[in-house]
């Protein structure tokens, strides 16, 4: 369909950098390289040229200290220090000694020498192997532009009238912050990643942002309409009427939900009649940690340690692992951080390049680790070392018989002895749990429960194994049914049997974060939900708005139903009635 200007809308896909939706007009920010013309100077001009540079640096410092003060008001200390680093560059005596020296020796204007000297460092950073250092080259560029601009006595245009969406090739930390003094509805850049300072600051400033939108600049005109969807990384240029209406609706919905959820952060995940459950966060990437506390989680319910293996061809050392686990423990403190040992194999990362006909029924999870006791011991020691504040637990994936649990416990005892002999502290009472994801483990969940302190149900695999459906297989994927009566009844069995043995039962599969399942799972007696941080406030809202007694009643009804359709339509109707505001699939 065409928009009012008679042109077709264009949809671009980028990387979601900061959630939220913005609809508005484009403010095109051309971050131009300041024009630097090399000019020879006489010996008599040298002192004056150095003075001119000193003045420009002093002006730049003043600008940055204003930005820094503004950052400290709007951001937390850690984030503001980005600007402190830029100020330190301006005060870097070693750098400026060499710049002043070059002005005298090469007899060139300050702009040219600054450009050359700082540019040299910038190129070295861009040549670095790690993406982190490459991105920091942006900080240098910001500083260099600032000095050159002040040398040319130009002022930065960072003010505009009305509300706009800023589109630029790239945005530095200072740009992002300075623009936010205007009414910014969103940020779109052609380059950049989710870990850039710009992304971090947009999130802190709660401005929607999409980065890595290649080719958008050559397609747009200033003041054109654009939609930025920071949840999904979508940008719509020249949106037509239906798109605009749909996004306006989404935006309002998002704001309404956001506002109603904001007050929940410090409230417990407790039903109206006082039944308390644990609502924890699943964590894969370090970047998600900032959301754990912000979203009001009861700690980390699942840290997938296998993410440490991404991009590596060998297992990380004990020390490397320890630092990561310690970070999880610190973030979760005083709540618990549950660390799942490497779940490799299946569709996940392969430990070795062994071809298996049936990887899902093959060498994976605890099976691999028990076959590689040295690797397993490294990991167990690393987890134990991170447990000194007594808030760490370990979780073992793919357990299918009790022997595996007993062997694992022997290895834990061995790991503890090794640490003890070196005088390294750890929590001797660290809690261990098993994943219930193989149907056999579900059947013997009472026996398993006697060996451990908790069990955690991994619904994604459990459902695949129970229903004999590979959900990655398009031909049968519709048979993957979260609400299949067999699944619901199996869950009840697992939860009941384990609880009879006095252990608590958690769930860390996708079902735990499905709002449609929340009441049912409470009713089945689940003690802990571990969900992706973004969905956490919604699940908490549901928990806090229902009665445990009605959930139990609901579970009884669902347990008697015979088809998934029946169960789903019953739950959907009920949820729509009770929570008309929550977006439900």
């Amino acid at each position: 369909m065409n928009n009012s200007a008679g042109q077709q809308e264009r949809i671009f896909r980028g990387i979601p950098a900061s959630p939220g939706i913005g609809v508005g007009r484009v403010f095109l920010f051309r971050k131009e390289e300041p024009l630097v013309i090399e000019r020879a100077i006489d010996a008599g001009e040298i002192a004056a040229e150095i003075e001119r540079l000193k003045l420009a640096v002093a002006r730049s410092l003043k600008e940055l200290s204003k930005i820094f003060a503004f950052a400290e008001q709007k951001l937390d200390r850690k984030q503001s220090r980005i600007f402190e680093a830029q100020m330190m560059i301006l005060e870097d005596a070693v750098l400026f000694e060499s710049i002043y020296g070059r002005i005298g020796k090469e007899m060139k204007n300050a702009e040219a020498i600054v450009q050359g000297e700082i540019g040299k460092y910038q190129r070295m950073m861009l040549a670095a192997k790690d993406i982190y250092t490459q991105e920091r080259a942006n900080d240098l560029e910001e500083v260099r532009h600032r000095i050159v601009r002040n040398l040319q006595a130009q002022r930065l245009v960072s003010k505009f009238e009305g509300s706009h969406i800023i589109v630029s090739q790239n945005l530095g930390a200072a740009d992002t912050l300075i623009f936010s003094r205007n009414d910014v509805l969103g940020y779109i850049t052609e380059v950049g990643g989710a870990t850039s300072h710009m992304a971090l600051l947009s999130r802190a400033l709660k401005i929607p942002a999409v980065v890595g939108v290649h080719g958008i600049l050559s397609e747009l005109q200033p003041d054109e309409e654009v939609i930025v969807d920071g949840h999904n990384g979508i940008v719509i240029l020249r949106p037509d009427e239906p798109s605009k209406r749909a996004y306006e609706r989404k935006k309002q919905e998002y704001h309404r939900v956001e506002e109603s959820l904001i007050g929940l952060r410090n409230l417990p995940a407790e039903t109206l009649d006082g039944h308390r459950v644990q609502l924890a966060a699943n964590v894969e990437l370090e970047q998600e940690l900032e959301f754990v506390k912000k979203q009001g989680a009861d700690g980390i319910g699942l840290y997938r340690s296998e993410t440490l293996l991404i991009g590596k061809d060998s297992f990380p050392t004990e020390d490397e692992q320890f630092r990561q686990y310690q970070l999880m423990a610190e973030t979760a403190f005083p709540n618990k951080a549950i660390i799942r040992t490497f779940d490799i194999g299946g569709d996940k990362l392969m430990a070795d390049s062994i071809r298996e006909n049936n990887p899902f029924l093959g060498w994976r999870g605890i099976r691999i680790m028990l076959d590689k006791p040295e690797v397993f011991l490294d990991q167990l020691r690393a987890i134990l070392r991170a447990s000194v504040r007594k808030n760490v637990a370990m979780l073992f994936p793919m357990v299918s018989n009790i022997k595996e649990v007993r062997l694992t416990k022997q290895l834990i005892a061995e790991a503890k002895d090794q640490l003890r002999s070196k005088g390294i502290p750890f929590d001797d009472h660290i809690e261990c749990g098993v994943m219930i994801e193989v149907p056999a483990a579900a059947v013997i969940s009472d026996d398993l429960a006697r060996e451990v302190k908790f069990v955690s149900i991994g619904t994604n695999d459990l459902i695949q194994y129970l229903l004999a459906v590979d959900r990655g297989n398009d031909i049968v994927s519709d048979l993957y049914q979260e609400f299949h009566p067999a699944v619901v009844r199996f869950l009840r069995r697992i939860i009941e049997r384990a609880k009879q043995e006095g252990v608590w039962v958690g769930m860390c599969g996708e079902m735990a974060g499905d709002p449609l399942a929340t009441m049912l799972l409470i009713g089945l007696g689940l003690d802990e939900f571990s969900v992706v941080p973004t969905i956490l406030p919604e699940i908490k809202k549901i928990i806090r708005s229902v009665h445990y007694t009605e959930c139990k009643h609901l579970a009884e009804r669902v347990l008697a139903m015979e088809t998934e359709d029946e169960i789903k339509s019953y739950l959907r109707t009920l949820m729509k009635q009770k929570f008309p505001d929550l977006p439900m699939q």
């Binding site: 680093a85 560059i89 460092y121 900080d139």
Partner: protein, 88 residues
């Protein structure tokens, strides 16, 4: 002159904030402080130099302290590295 090999323990390596802490601490001493990594040598009293090192976690660096207060400087700097720049 004191020479000492150190390993960076921070998970993000010596990124902006640790680099700033290092340079600030170095400024309190009079001795010269150089860092060598894979053949590249920088003046560690310069933030821009330290940032350029791109010392990731596990990176091995050679520290050289030279001057009247080199002993005290080495002890203070090594302590900071071992504490993970107080960021751990």
């Amino acid at each position: 002159m004191i020479e000492k090999e150190v390993t960076i323990v921070n998970r993000l390596g010596m990124h902006v904030r640790p680099a700033a802490s290092l340079v600030k601490l170095a400024a309190k001493f009079r001795s010269e402080f150089l860092i060598e990594k894979e053949g590249m040598e920088i003046n560690a009293k310069s933030i821009i130099g330290v940032m350029t090192l791109s010392a990731e976690q596990g990176a091995k660096l050679l520290f050289r302290f030279d001057g009247e207060d080199e002993k005290e400087m080495a002890a203070a700097i090594i302590g900071l590295i071992e504490r993970g720049f107080d960021e751990l």
